[in-house]
Symmetry: C2
Subunit: 343 residues, 2 copies
């Protein structure tokens, strides 16, 4: 990535961004805003190798992230729940097609996306998740339905889609996820595999998993993550994103975490729960706990990725051991800051 | 459960049990055994309400558990790996049809079992798991193949079965899981649901999940769990058993855990990883950590279940907040002790 690109990613006051969503949230009476408790929303668009992305691709992702965060901010500024802010923000990221989530999910070796998502309420520890769903436009919302409408936490595959239909969620055509560049990439990989007879996994250029953690005016944390998983993954593979404690976790007693990276390392190390356990039991800061896990333990294992995290006091952690992680923060003042590279 | 039943479950010296497996392990030279480091294998056959089981049912489960533990003991006594002992023991429990795992898996609302399993190596943190598989006789062995033959940790549903076939694992007919009493139970529930139009989940009489934790002569821990999940579960529902950190976890630095109970509570509380985190960060004993999680936190949430655990020093924890949990211990001396009720 060039120096010029880094400059593009500097902080932009939200007031400079004209959208109807922001207009509405900026329209809140000032005294209501100042009386309100502090609230925070942190989002990520995946940790990975950003050096192959063009400035145009970065700009498109950045615009999608901004739009999504504006919507999440609006929920929190209006006194809404962190759970709603997380779902709202992630839905927009899923719909954008700019990330490895929802419409933009990577294709498996079978040539279609299989999507995973989880959402968790830090106040109650209630959680919902779906994995390996092929015909769901917004896995994060289906995860929330699992949380609220079933006695279960995790539904996978055809069973999850059957549940979706029972809840009136329309199953989309596989072509909803069609994209010229992903299709071309798939065909190239398939041709290459047939040539070499290799069954190994190729690295993907960028992990574009999306995730959001939020603290609302009532002091409640929530976390959510949505992903298409690793590119060219085996059908049926489930990563860390939909697994409570690995890729997604929220607990008012400790912290809220959403992870991104090569999920297998995050599963084996139960990363999200481990960071929160260190905060709770060792009484270290969220930043310290996340540094020890992401920048030391995972690095020793060659496990690439990062996390965003929030504690109940509004402390933010955004760490990654790759060359970039798209991440954004917005607090009560409404300034959205989005960055990619290490500072 | 009657007092008489409790008496049946007392400790039985392994020398009294005549099987070829035990004959072989008892045949090891005495000096090899005495020079060897201590090793331990702990198994469970599910926590739940044992009051509805007949003495004959208990005796059949107890016999299956004994046979399985003998085989696991033999692996450890011969200097084998804890990972092999875990897999060997669980395979026999799966094959027995006496537990809610493998051949004996409960039926979902669709009238067939969907099986979950996980295995984890405490030395390397390598792990493998499968979930929602319908045509696999031994999910624990498929979990191990996922660990050793793929870059992934968790494969679910049809993708997991596709992988099984690629590895030469034969898919079994659905009738492999047919059982007169489960089929009758399914028909009754289905009739009752059609009558009441209720979509709630009925409680199951006994959680018969199986799990094993082991410490081998090299001082390495391993854990494994296999289950059919809750009775009458929604298709696609995945419980805690195959989720690393929730129902299954092993780490030489802290402990090895296999859980049983209503999995959703174990997922929300990331139970296995939390117990090990308390051991690692709070420096409390495994027994204390497990007591605080299972007998306090889960009880407050009305989350029923239990765990078996082992640390690297061979300390054993077996706790449950239900009226029973079938559990067995065997150490280097070869005495297998199997109990069900609280002491």
């Amino acid at each position: 990535m060039t120096r010029a690109l880094t400059l593009i990613l500097a902080s932009v006051p939200i007031a400079l961004i004209a959208t109807s969503a922001m207009t509405a949230s900026k329209g809140l009476p000032q005294d209501k805003q100042s009386n309100a408790r502090n609230f925070v929303l942190v989002a990520h668009g995946g940790a990975g190798d950003y050096s192959h992305l063009t400035p145009e691709q970065i700009a498109a992702r950045r615009a999608a992230m901004t739009t999504a965060m504006e919507a999440g901010y609006k929920v929190l500024a209006g006194g809404g729940r962190s759970l709603d802010a997380v779902e709202t923000t992630i839905r927009i990221l899923e719909d954008s097609g700019q990330f490895d989530a929802g419409r933009g999910g990577y294709y498996t070796r079978d040539g279609v996306p299989e999507l995973d998502a989880a959402i968790m309420d830090g106040q109650t520890l209630n959680a919902g998740a779906v994995a390996a769903v092929k015909r769901i436009a917004n896995p994060i919302s289906l995860a929330r339905l699992v949380m609220e409408k079933t006695p279960h936490v995790l539904l996978v595959g055809a069973g999850a889609e059957q549940f979706a239909e029972s809840q009136g969620v329309r199953l989309v055509s596989p072509y909803y996820f069609f994209d010229e560049s992903r299709w071309k990439n798939y065909q190239e990989r398939r041709a290459a595999e047939e040539k070499t007879k290799s069954s190994g996994l190729s690295a993907q250029p960028v992990h574009g998993t999306v995730g959001v953690v939020a603290l609302d005016q009532s002091g409640n944390l929530a976390a959510g993550t949505s992903t298409g998983g690793t590119n060219w993954k085996m059908p049926g593979r489930v990563g860390d994103s939909p697994l409570i404690g690995s890729g997604t976790y929220a607990n008012n007693e400790s912290c809220a975490i959403s992870a991104t990276g090569t999920g297998e390392f995050f599963i084996r190390n139960v990363v999200a729960a481990d960071i929160c356990a260190r905060v709770k039991y060792l009484h270290v800061s969220l930043e310290q706990a996340a540094t020890d896990v992401i920048m030391k333990e995972l690095v020793e294992q060659h496990g690439d990725g990062g996390i965003i995290g929030l504690d109940r006091h509004g402390n933010v952690a955004m760490l990654f051991n790759t060359n970039g992680m798209m991440r954004g923060v917005v607090k009560s003042d409404g300034n959205i800051t989005i960055k990619i590279r290490q500072e």
